[in-house]
């Protein structure tokens, strides 16, 4: 359990500006919850880059290679079949299956990586119990930061976010 301070904004620009300035003020911004992707938020939070594309590339290329290998094995080694004198390894005709299956598995690999990186499926999360959090998927922008330890700093943080345009501030354990 971490003690969090949730600052809620009604406007995406004020929210992004507050997130940027909060970093400058050395508040420990943990995460941000928004109803649509707010540009630059990932960079502001300095989160790890996604490996989705790498996973997709590997999944796609490996599958395409395996598919071609299967075609080669069946048509050249296991069941060579002379069809009008065409070469057994008719690579131009063999291209479609590796291409289509490669793209399919790349998509599956990408989706699987998305789930892993996002920690999904995870139907329960402590934040879901927080009052007002349901609006993060609708029309509110919520910044989550580690709750400052001492009261003075806490007061300063509350003032800071109020001045930045926060519509609500909540202390929660999540």
């Amino acid at each position: 359990m971490t003690a969090l301070l949730l600052a809620e904004f009604a406007d995406s620009r004020r929210f992004a500006e507050a997130a940027r300035r909060a970093r400058g003020e050395r508040y420990r911004v943990v995460d941000a919850f928004t109803p649509f992707p707010v540009e630059g938020m990932h960079e502001i939070l300095e989160q790890r880059k996604s490996h989705i594309r790498v996973a997709m590339f590997i999944g796609g290329v490996a599958t395409a290679a395996a598919a071609y290998g299967l075609e080669y094995y069946s048509a050249v080694i296991d069941y060579p079949y002379n069809s009008g004198g065409r070469p057994f390894d008719a690579w131009p005709a063999f291209m479609l299956v590796p291409f289509a299956t490669g793209i399919l598995v790349a998509a599956i690999a990408g989706f699987a990586t998305l789930l892993v990186e996002c920690g999904l499926p995870g139907l329960h999360h402590a934040l879901f119990a927080v009052e007002g959090f349901e609006r993060a998927s609708q029309d509110r922008f919520i910044l989550a930061l580690e709750r400052p330890a001492d009261d003075d700093e806490m007061r300063r943080a509350l003032d800071f976010f109020r001045a930045a345009g926060a519509t609500a501030l909540r202390e929660v354990d999540a």
Partner: protein, 461 residues
């Protein structure tokens, strides 16, 4: 070609808004889109129930038709030893064309940064899924021995045989299978954040549980959105070539043969543009119905119809050029069979259908040169319906003309559709409508998170 058709679109001036004022706030978007799911009392649903009953009855007719074909064989159709492909294969090509367009439109417009796609991509992608699923039925029931269709898959078997990888029909199988599964993933990924919105707006525990389960626990955190955007863009990049390859393969089903009128290098791109064309027309029809049925005038605006009409106009011109190229090549190539086929197209037994095709696909869409037509929802809808009918004529004529009029004159024989041809053709329309009607009751028809982003950006400009 299809890429160029969209790229030549003039970028909308900054002030053009893809939403009307009543939909221009985040909560207004949520309210408008979720209303059909959560505020059902706002509608009488009479039109929906009528549609449901009619399409349900047509679906039963379709199932009866499929059962009869499976039990008595494909001889119940009008196919004969000369025209071995009848309406089933034409219907397949027509449906797979429509099935192509949703992902093509959605993915390509995403790559082109066409913001207006936000309001249309969800129901276009749903159209793709249902149309592609129906398309997949036709080649299977058209097989002489449909119970062996799984022989298309490579699996170790006691017969020790393998699929013939050089066959265009094997390509078809893999292309369709990959495409349908890919489209489901693409559609579902885009749906997850909206399912979370539905979960959070739910008024009953049941709705919250079901939508919550499908939302997988989405919280819209910065990490979630980063992963989402990365994946969605990468899928779009892969989706476009997959779609192009799929319909190219459908074109090669014909072009890889030795028949007059079929063995043409123009077929793959010509089929892809045709797919985009009929798909856009179907999207427009669905957009009109969704907009009218769910009062989404604020989200699907006249500007949307204007821009989609321009895309269809460009596609109509490309289709006209493709037809003309075929006729020119037949004449210029000098091959007797090819020339005879074109003469048969223009004047033969199916000529009335052929001229209807030209009228629907090339002539009528020229009305889109006029702004007044593009800005009239009724007119755009009417032209789109004409295009869909014209594209169906095109698909049946590609099959009927060539097969009924090939090299050996002694083989010439016409295809006359039987009642079972019509049952499976119109029945499949009923099944499509039924699936669509169920879809609009269960899933938000417009992508809420993308429209929210659009509104936010428009507010900034």
């Amino acid at each position: 070609m299809s890429v160029a058709a969209i790229r030549t679109e003039p970028m909308p001036p900054e002030r053009v808004r893809w939403t009307l004022p009543e939909a221009r706030s985040l909560d207004a978007v949520n309210a408008i889109v979720t209303a059909p799911l959560y505020e059902r009392e706002l509608w009488s649903w009479r039109a929906w129930w009528i549609g449901f009953a009619v399409s349900g009855a047509m679906t039963v007719v379709f199932l009866v038709g499929v059962t009869v074909v499976l039990m008595r064989g494909i001889g119940v159709w009008g196919v004969n030893t000369t025209v071995v492909w009848g309406t089933a294969i034409a219907d397949y090509v027509w449906w797979i064309g429509i099935g192509n367009a949703g992902t093509l439109i959605s993915a390509m417009l995403l790559l082109m940064r066409q913001k207006w796609r936000a309001a249309t991509n969800r129901f276009a992608e749903a159209m793709t899924l249902f149309a592609a699923a129906i398309a997949g039925v036709f080649p299977i029931i058209h097989l002489g021995r449909p119970m062996y269709f799984y022989w298309l898959t490579p699996y170790p078997n006691t017969m020790t045989v393998w699929p013939q990888w050089r066959s265009a029909l094997i390509w078809d199988f893999w292309a369709i299978l990959s495409y349908i599964l890919f489209s489901i993933i693409f559609w579902y990924v885009g749906l997850i954040p909206d399912l979370a919105t539905l979960r959070d707006r739910a008024r009953s525990k049941f709705a919250a549980t079901v939508y919550g389960a499908f939302a997988l626990g989405w919280r819209g955190s910065a990490r979630h959105w980063h992963a989402y955007e990365t994946l969605h863009l990468a899928l779009a990049c892969l989706g476009v070539p997959l779609v192009v390859s799929l319909h190219s393969v459908v074109g090669m089903d014909f072009a890889a043969s030795l028949m007059p009128g079929w063995q043409e290098t123009i077929f793959p791109p010509y089929f892809v543009v045709g797919a985009m064309y009929s798909g856009f027309a179907m999207v427009v029809c669905l957009a009109v119905l969704v907009r009218w049925g769910f009062r989404m005038e604020g989200l699907i605006t006249l500007a949307h119809f204007d821009v989609m009409a321009k895309v269809m106009l460009a596609a109509a011109i490309i289709m006209g050029l493709s037809y003309a190229t075929e006729w020119f090549n037949a004449w210029y190539g000098g091959d007797h069979a090819e020339r005879r086929l074109v003469a048969f197209e223009f004047t033969g037994a199916y000529a009335p259908l052929f001229w209807a095709l030209i009228l629907c696909n090339v002539v009528i869409p020229q009305a889109f040169w006029f702004g007044a037509v593009r800005n009239s929802v009724v007119a755009v809808f009417a032209v789109a319906v004409a295009i869909n009918i014209g594209m169906w004529f095109e698909r049946i004529l590609i099959v009927w003309n060539t097969l009924s009029h090939d090299y050996a004159v002694s083989m010439w024989r016409l295809f006359i559709p039987t009642v079972w041809d019509w049952v499976t053709t119109f029945g499949s329309l009923g099944l499509f409508a039924l699936m669509y009607l169920v879809f609009v009751r269960l899933v938000p028809v417009v992508s809420m998170h993308e429209v929210r982003k659009l509104i936010d950006e428009e507010g900034a400009s």
